[in-house]
């Protein structure tokens, strides 16, 4: 009963001094806004990376063999990068070694790619395109679906036909009004026939995929490769998650034997799983999550000091009221509770405003950039809890002063 009385009284005070209350809350509002906005965005990116990004790049139950790790983080990464740069490039021979080591793979593919400054068809051109030479199952393993026409077939691969499946962004650009199927597309002095268009992916990563052209690996090797038989990635998809580790061990052993590495010598190749990407993201995530509390607590401490000052002023302003309340029977703890409640209510209100503004900011960022936003219940709880803590901490001293006032002196105060 007295609890609600305290809250009601506190709200009346806040409402009576709206402007003063607002200014006293700026620090808390900024702190909580920042907290909510950043956590919401980071949380959104988290989900995106875990659920979409990693899966869409690597696919489920998939690992790839590459020359070197492409996701570098951590302090030793510069040194490691230099060392890995000396790893031999992958070639078709490595593909055969890996294939032989993975007889039970569900799917198997290899690819090579290069950047094209432009592709053309008719009078239209599309700059900045990724050209991929992919073996038979590459599009399947990547989960790329064809929207119109067909995908690449084993026949295309065997005969090294000059056929291409293009991304939706390229199709829209080169053929805004007509169907791209069976039309020619030119790049690096060669002409290919378009046999299919990939489904539009959109989104952060999909934008890159939508600007890709896929041709058979054999064709790529004959016409586009910078080195003979170069291979960028070997992709292996296994049947279950449990098979990933043993299969990787097989591949590792086969490649080491083929390359005649001595025991104790480092691998001169890299096997990448979606875990690599996730661990890189987790590192970034950890840094952010370490930095945020520091930044937030600075503004909350400042906000708390402001609230404390306002509350001290309020105690002085209301000295007579305190004296009166004491003369009417308020105990010290009643006065203490009243001012603590007031400071906490103020601060929690600030936190609530901060949450609203923070969520608004996160939505704004979401609508202006490809970054997704994800609201976690934990961050809301954290924000309100911080509001309460700041309120109680900053209200403690003023409330103590108020509670200690001598009723006679307080009643006489002008």
């Amino acid at each position: 009963m007295r609890f609600w009385e305290g809250i009601r009284l506190a709200l009346t005070q806040v409402w009576t001094h709206k402007l003063k209350s607002f200014f006293s809350l700026v620090g808390v509002i900024i702190g909580i806004t920042f907290l909510i906005a950043v956590i919401t965005i980071v949380e959104g990116m988290n989900r995106y990376v875990r659920e979409d990004f990693a899966g869409s790049i690597f696919g489920v139950n998939t690992f790839t063999v590459v020359q070197r790790n492409q996701v570098n983080t951590g302090p030793q990464s510069a040194e490691r990068r230099r060392r890995e740069a000396r790893n031999p490039e992958l070639v078709l021979h490595d593909v055969e070694v890996v294939r032989a080591a993975t007889p039970n793979a569900k799917q198997f593919a290899y690819m090579s790619d290069r950047f094209l400054s432009e592709v053309r068809s008719g009078g239209e051109r599309r700059p900045n395109v990724r050209l991929i030479g992919g073996s038979g199952e590459y599009q399947t393993i990547q989960g790329w679906k064809v929207d119109s026409g067909r995908g690449l077939t084993p026949l295309d691969e065997r005969r090294a036909l000059k056929v291409a499946v293009i991304g939706s962004a390229i199709a829209e650009r080169l053929f805004p009004t007509t169907s791209p199927l069976d039309k020619p597309i030119r790049f690096r002095g060669q002409q290919f026939t378009i046999v299919g268009v990939f489904e539009k992916q959109g989104g952060f990563i999909g934008n890159i995929r939508d600007a890709s052209v896929l041709i058979p690996f054999s064709t790529y090797n004959q016409t586009m490769a910078q080195r003979r038989e170069e291979v960028e990635e070997i992709l292996v998809k296994v049947n279950t998650a449990a098979e990933i580790e043993p299969t990787i061990a097989e591949v590792e052993g086969a490649l080491r034997a083929d390359r005649q590495l001595r025991p104790g010598e480092d691998n001169n190749f890299w096997i990448q799983t979606s875990n690599d990407l996730l661990s890189a993201w987790n590192t970034i995530n950890r840094i952010l999550m370490t930095a945020i509390p520091g930044l937030v607590s600075v503004s909350l401490v400042v906000g708390g000091i402001v609230i404390m000052n306002i509350m001290l002023l309020s105690v002085t302003d209301r000295t007579r009221e305190i004296g009166l309340r004491k003369s009417l029977g308020a105990r010290r703890r009643d006065i203490l509770f009243q001012f603590l409640t007031e400071a906490s209510t103020l601060s929690i209100l600030g936190a609530a405003v901060g949450i609203a503004v923070g969520l608004g900011l996160a939505r704004l960022v979401e609508s202006l950039t490809p970054l997704p936003a994800s609201v976690s219940g934990f961050s809301l709880f954290l924000a309100l809890a911080l509001g309460l803590i700041v309120g109680v901490a900053s209200g403690m001293y003023p409330a103590y002063r108020a509670a200690r006032l001598d009723p006679i002196e307080a009643l006489r105060y002008e």
Binding site: M1, E5, L328, G329, R331, L411
Partner: protein, 248 residues
């Protein structure tokens, strides 16, 4: 300073100040100097008395009033209220006594400016832990007693001085206190309003309320049945005009 209290046969309230020797006093320490505000005051007030405490400024009447109101405790001596020795009580117990036994009426009314008359009257009940519904019922009843039933939802700045003081009286009465303690209750009012307020006091006394008021105005003190005059912290005169127990 000392008070001693004696139970009446009916078990009613009295307070009394009784002095055995000259060492009972209320001292205030200001800086290095100890100021003795009251010395050897020995006073006994029975239930349903109507007492005026008079005296020039600095005579100690405010100190006496603070002691009676349990806002302060004597440095030495004793104060017995309803059979309870007050001087040994701690802060919380004093607050409880102020809440249940004392109804204050101040010269400056001391109403909360942003609260309605009703809420102002409810205040003591909040600290008594009375439920919201019961509080409103009792506060409304107290306002009715002072003829302000139609002004319950007005704020103090919407009320005249006399009405404000009547709200304050309702607030003092709402917890049914043993003593109505008024400090210059008409000090901020013009003479006709003063008479109106004194009329309220007289009626309350007639209905059995014990009233103690501090004043320096003789015509206000004239309403009481017993005048106590303090000079230099000592009782210089006592003047009883009517029986202490007005048998209603």
């Amino acid at each position: 300073m000392i008070h001693d209290l004696v139970d009446e046969p009916e078990g009613h309230t009295h307070e009394q100040i009784e002095d055995d020797d000259d060492e009972r006093s209320a001292n205030y320490v200001m800086g290095a100097e100890t100021i003795r505000a009251l010395r050897g005051v020995d006073l006994k007030i029975e239930s349903n008395e109507y007492v005026a405490i008079m005296g020039p400024s600095g005579s100690g009447k405010s100190t006496l009033m603070n002691l009676i109101g349990c806002l302060d405790t004597p440095t030495s001596g004793e104060y017995v209220l309803n059979g309870q020795a007050v001087q040994d009580l701690d802060d919380d117990e004093l607050a409880r006594i102020r809440n249940r036994e004392i109804g204050f009426v101040f010269q400056t009314f001391n109403l909360l400016p942003r609260a309605t008359a009703l809420h102002n009257v409810e205040l003591p009940l909040i600290y008594a832990g009375v439920s919201a519904k019961e509080r409103q019922r009792r506060a409304a009843g107290a306002l009715e007693k002072v003829a302000l039933a139609d002004r319950m939802n007005h704020k103090p700045n919407e009320l005249s001085g006399g009405q404000r003081q009547r709200v304050a009286i309702a607030r003092a009465l709402v917890n049914d206190p043993s003593i109505l303690l008024a400090d210059e209750p008409t000090g901020n009012l013009d003479s006709s309003t003063s008479q109106e307020i004194m009329g309220v006091f007289d009626a309350l006394h007639a209905s059995g309320q014990t009233i103690i008021m501090v004043t320096h105005e003789a015509d206000i003190a004239a309403h009481s049945h017993r005048e106590i005059t303090l000079v230099d912290g000592m009782i210089s005169a006592q003047h009883v005009k009517a029986p202490a127990t007005a048998g209603i």
